[in-house]
């Protein structure tokens, strides 16, 4: 059975990618940012997930204004880096996991989340920058990647509550997948920033800290934040923080915060990063306890439901 072992939250500032690609990581300004991810790379190297589900948003690269899907799941075998105007980023092509992606699509759509299926898609800095921050700059990415693109460019994005519930549906889907796969889910974007209009440059560290605190301790509280509060308090583009709630919804109610990093600024944005581990990670391994058994039973039931007739 596949399972989600941890969640990663990370900003995806494009300038971080540019600093990497142009060899500027040792400059003091950028070193401050990159040094905050050293421990995370070690954690990731130890965690060795088989699959990373990366929740991110496209920035006028794969989707223009011709099509604006609210949730778009990448079901392709591979995802090339997009040309964002300076040529594609020099990162390896991301290998997908079409079988698991199709399974997730089937499961969450029957759970009433009407995803768009994308079988051909290029991915921009929104996805590749967090990959670099957590995996470094390898010749090949060490795991498969399933991109989940969320519209946060055109208002209204999905509500925080909707995102959180989608996370729960994704978790259910993963736990009904028969193959033993270790999955890490990424929520990316944010934290506070505004890059448009006369109020550009807005940063709200107090808000960001409270968001990170509640992400660990009381995510349900975050699901009640209306869009106006994100935009007013964390900047017009800070609203992309709702994507972190998909990641959080896919985790246990109680999680262990194993790492956190925060710095201001990277370009125009507050950089936030967090690693949350499911507590039952160890428990599931030793297969002890009724919780583990009932979880497996639920997974079997879910798999059966999807295979047999669909909607409950």
């Amino acid at each position: 059975m596949a399972s989600i072992i941890a969640g990663v939250g990370s900003s995806h500032v494009p300038a971080i990618g540019a600093a990497l690609d142009n060899g500027r990581t040792e400059e003091p300004y950028w070193k401050r940012v990159f040094s905050g991810f050293e421990k995370s790379k070690q954690w990731m190297a130890k965690t060795k997930p088989d699959v990373a589900i990366v929740v991110y948003n496209d920035h006028a690269s794969a989707f223009s204004v011709e099509m604006i899907p609210t949730f778009a799941l990448g079901c392709a075998a591979e995802f090339p880096p997009a040309d964002e105007g300076w040529g594609p980023r020099p990162v390896p092509v991301l290998k997908g996991h079409p079988a698991l992606a199709a399974h997730i699509a089937q499961s969450v759509i029957l759970d009433e989340f009407d995803l768009t299926i994308v079988n051909k898609m290029e991915v921009d800095h929104g996805l590749t920058v967090p990959m670099n921050l957590l995996f470094g700059t390898p010749k090949e990415w060490p795991c498969r990647v399933i991109p989940l693109a969320v519209n946060v460019v055109m208002y209204p994005p999905p509500t925080g509550h909707r995102c959180y519930m989608l996370g729960k549906a994704i978790r259910k889907a993963i736990e009904s997948y028969p193959e033993d796969l270790r999955v890490v889910i990424f929520g990316t974007g944010g934290l506070s920033h505004q890059i448009s209009g006369p109020r550009a440059g807005l940063i709200n560290s107090k808000w960001d800290k409270s968001f990170l605190d509640n992400l660990t301790k009381d995510p349900k509280k975050l699901t009640r934040i209306p869009h106006i509060d994100y935009m007013r308090e964390a900047g017009a583009e800070g609203i992309e923080m709702v994507m972190w709630l998909i990641m959080r919804g896919a985790l246990d109610d109680k999680v262990d915060e194993v790492y956190r990093f925060y710095t201001v600024p990277a370009s125009n944005t507050a950089v936030g990063h967090i690693i949350l581990e499911n507590r039952r990670k160890a428990a599931a391994k030793s297969k002890r306890g009724a919780a583990g058994r009932s979880k497996q039973a639920a997974a079997r039931k879910a798999a059966h439901r999807i295979a047999s007739k669909g909607r409950r």
Binding site: A60, G85, M154, H227, S267, N268
Partner: protein, 150 residues
Amino acid sequence: MARAQHDYDDIPGTFVFDAERSRQGYGINMFCMSLMKEENRKAFKANEAEYLKRFKLTPAQTEAILKRDYNRMLEHGGNIYFTAKLGATDGHSFQHLAALMTGSSQQDYAAMMLAGGRSVEGNRSRSGKPKPAKAKAKPKSKSKSSAKRK
């Protein structure tokens, strides 16, 4: 038809790219998208006004593009991730555009960011009320009510 009023219109210095602006600004954003191709960048640079005729733009939108009035582009339906492509075509960094939109020099803007960014204090609300969204009537914005539904 006048633009509908929304709770987020109260946020100062901000043009929220909503469904209405997305509709109005389709031409601006598709023009910006076209600049992803080198041949189009060349054609635009060779004769800007002529190139803009390929897109459905209002006179105000055309003028905003020609004058590089980025705030006006946003007001008339441009989105920042798209208009940034116009800035890149002109060879400008993003911070150059940000400084332009905020009416400060790039140096001052960069210094503000290094010092922790623009404070939210005093920048929350046009009307001066700290939480006008909650004080206003509910049925105004669909998205707001759905965000509050739990």
